[in-house]
Amino acid sequence: MDTIRIPSARGSFRVWQRNVTIFRKYWKTILFPNFVEPLLYLAALGLGLGAFIQQGGINGQSYVQFVAPGLLASNAMFAASFESTFNTFVKLKIDKIYDAIITTPVNAEDVVAGEYLWAGTRSALYGTAFLAMIVVLGIVFREPLVTSWWALLLPLMLLVIGIMFSVLGTLFTSLIERIDLYAYYFTLVVTPLFLLSGVFFPVDNFPAPVPQVAWFTPLYHAVNVCRELATGPSPGVLVDVAWILVFTGVLALIPVQIMRRRLIG
């Protein structure tokens, strides 16, 4: 029975819907930190660190303008990563939620795809809250941080970015037996991506092989897309979008198969 399993849209939707039902009970509490987070970052990085960055900023932008869309992308990464690691692990191994779901017409493969969609949704919701706060702060401090109507596409893009990081996080989850091992994932995967993908400084001008290595990592492209959409995109952004879609598409079915084997003996 080792055929490759393709999730069904209907089953995936049901799993997504379960998560939405629970989220709707607590959404105010869950979303609130996402309004506070940009304030903290922009205060520390914009006013604190930014004060040391010489006039003229980066690529003609002030440091705050440069860093804000990057933080938006990393916010989506963190949202999807927590969802697909700790939250998924608890449902899988502790609460046994998936064991209950797969006795219904919803199959194991649908569970995984539904969780991808949910993690993406969560990223989009978190990111939209974050984005709204950035816009407001830009107006309040008279330093527009989002300057293009293209920014309206950001929630959709954050959904896609969230799905990408959910696939990556679920892949790790599908391989581990103990919750402590996430320390490795966050220290060795998520944190380096956060620090070295162009959120805080441009990596493109670094000597080889830094930009080349960065090109092969997911957050780098997510940051590029968010930054371009916030300020008006160049055609080059299509390469980043394509990269994200291909990376996600190629990896997506792998955790599906591994998780299915974990859920079905």
């Binding site: 029975m1 209907r10 089953g11 049901r14 819907q17 379960r18 039902t21 629970i22 609460d95 046994k96 939620i97 064991d99 209950a100 779901i101 797969i102 006795t103 219904t104 017409p105 919803v106 199959n107 859920l263 079905i264 003996g265």
Partner: protein
Amino acid sequence: MNAERNTGAESTLEARALKKSYGDFEAVKGVDFRVFGGECFGFLGPNGAGKTTTMKMIYGAVIPTAGELAVAGLDVYHHEREIKRRIGVVPQENNLDDELKVRENLLIYGRYYDLPRKVVLQRTDELLDFMQLSEKAEATVEQLSGGMKRRLLIARALINDPEIVVLDEPTTGLDPQARLLVWDRLRELTTEGKTLILTTHYMEEAARLCDRLVIMEGGLIIADGTPGELVEEHVSPQVLELTADHRSLEELLSVVEGADSVERTGDETVLVYTEDADTLLENVRSSGVDIENTVYRQAGLEDVFLRLTGRRLIE
């Protein structure tokens, strides 16, 4: 609830040479059984006998290594979703959704079956009532007692009005009162015409609920029949449990030698099976062997198991 009776004699579940191995370990070593529509069919056996693995093969959580298994006339290898749509599952381990309230557990579960919202709402209320959980509808799962959680699991398994309900140890861990209530509800389901398949290691449960059952041990079915047939076929109807000091035990064994069969459990108790307990007890008394305790009872499934395996069901 569906009051339609489904008592046709066609088999609703059929296994042939069904096997499951995990590496070198054979959990189920080739079993055959048939379950007919509308009956309550039991798997009686100790922990590790392969009962749960067999249940999981029925509801698609375990894929058989070899053999055939048809559920509701559908082959498990090719009709996973369709089978799951037509059965209800009560797992051994509680896996209620703790993030949802009691009522929501049923509503959300109903959505997994793509049932119309109206139908789910109606059945949810009926099932909460049927399982005596209406008062707890808005409680969290955490606030429920063990018996209530089990009843909610059963209600959840019925949300799709299944033809077949698979129950893996439905009353393990429950106190006697909670157990009686579950038994009562399960019997009600069989009168409604549902087919029940359950595992248990309580022979009383098997004797009270099951129309037919198999006894499993070590991944094999070692006996099958109705509870009455099993007792009749494998043991004599009357049992004397004689407890003697271990020094007098040898003597006691020689006195009861003429009985149909004798089993020793532990150091000091001897179970003697006979057609005529009075005569036997007379013989024991007149022999002068020092007996500490005597219990006379009718033979049951526990004795069948002891006879077949040489050990007690629950040790």
